[in-house]
Amino acid sequence: MITAEQKPIDEIRKMIAPYKRILVLGCASCVAECAAGGEKETAMLASTLRMAARMNQEDVVIQEKTLERQCVKDFVILLDDILDNYDAILSLGCGAGVQAVADMYEDIPVIPALNTEFIGETKDQGLWVENCLGCGDCMLYYFGGVCPLARCSKHLLNGPCGGSKDGRCEVNPDIPCAWQLIIDRLSRFNALDRLEEIYPPKDWSKKQGKGPRKIIREDQQK
């Protein structure tokens, strides 16, 4: 999923300051799973902003709504009937959600309330970790299901570097050395010989070759 964290409240307050009628818009998908922009977080942010407005005697209307997904047109369209009541949207979607909404409604500013972080997994309660770069050419098979591009601090395809110590990464002892994980896992499958091979330079054109990527599936089109 896509993970995100809420921006500092002062930054949000500064961005919405010029507006009088604000829709705080949540998203019940990825950002709900990482407890950043779901229904609950949206209600909490709206109420915090209302309270701050009252304390400062500002005459502002702040209401909230949560869509199933902000990044899918079929759901965004549900805003058609209510948007006349607002002069700004404060979105708790990921970067894709913010832009999908903005793309649909050209005349109303859409302000991000979150910092979108990474593609990752929910490791534990309150713990999310990055494990995919979305490189467009998955190599997990070769590395025992551990991605060195996302999880090695130097993105080495032929690691580990000289900074692997006791299974930890020199860059940050809180993170495991991805190459130690790769070696441990491949040795469990008797597949360490895969690492004798020199992996060639990554083809980054699949990630950033010609600007933003798109997927076209004719079988899915109406």
Partner: protein
Amino acid sequence: MNSSHSLKQILGQGHFAVTAECGPPKGADPEIILKKAEYLKDKVDAINVTDNQTAIVRMSSLAACALLKSAGLEPVLQMVVRDRNRIALQSDILGAAALGIQNVLCLSGDHQSFGNQPQAVGVFDLDSIQFIQTVKAMRDEGVILGGESLSKAPDIFIGAAANPFADPLSFRVTRLAKKVKAGADFIQTQCIYNLDRFRSWMKQVADRGLAEQTYILGGVTPLKSAGMAKYMKNRVAGMDVPDEIIKRMEGVPKDKQREEGIRICVETIEQLKEIPGVKGVHIMAIEWEEAVGEIAERAGLLPRPAVE
């Protein structure tokens, strides 16, 4: 040291090679490099110039190598893949060769978070092994990545680093084998203080036949103080400083610790000379280039052999 490719020739003729390291200044003054060069002249066969080591902005390694070259010394251009993508790396290899720089050490580089620009993007488009392979193809086949031909191939003696002291131990020799397979003509190791572990690594290296396929130069760094020894042990990843070394440094008064550091360094070099497969020594006297001559003298490495 005026002749071309002296490091390659010295190793090829079976002499025990000596290289040193020289860090460029945090400024635009060429005099600092030239002064360091003066200390090292005729004491070593070639001089490594570090590439923004520990991710701290310094004068470019390529420019400092050109200065050394013009002063009649043979440089080893260190290049890290942290700051340049494959276009820039290949371009700089061509530029280096055009300037007469003939030795390149291909490295990953210290992570940008350690230095004074922690907000920089870490490029790492190629890794050090892919970079070695790229330089080899440029030299031997006259082609760049993707196969396009060069008008003139760069004549580069290709070096790489090895750290016998990092983890996982079982994989360190495999990684060296990959560097050799990629095209590393010579290897300079991480600083050696734990000779037992280095010997057991060298044995595995020799057993795999790697000591005949590449020239291995053992890295040494003279300690300036007991504090430096402890710092390296505790704070520098991939360093192995045994307690005996720290005790030895602590056992002498502060004003004698530099002398003790030089003595340990000389003893280490004498041991390295006896280890099968070790073809030379790389003396990294960090901001202490003036110590290199004395170390080389006392370790019986002077005068340096003349090459054609």
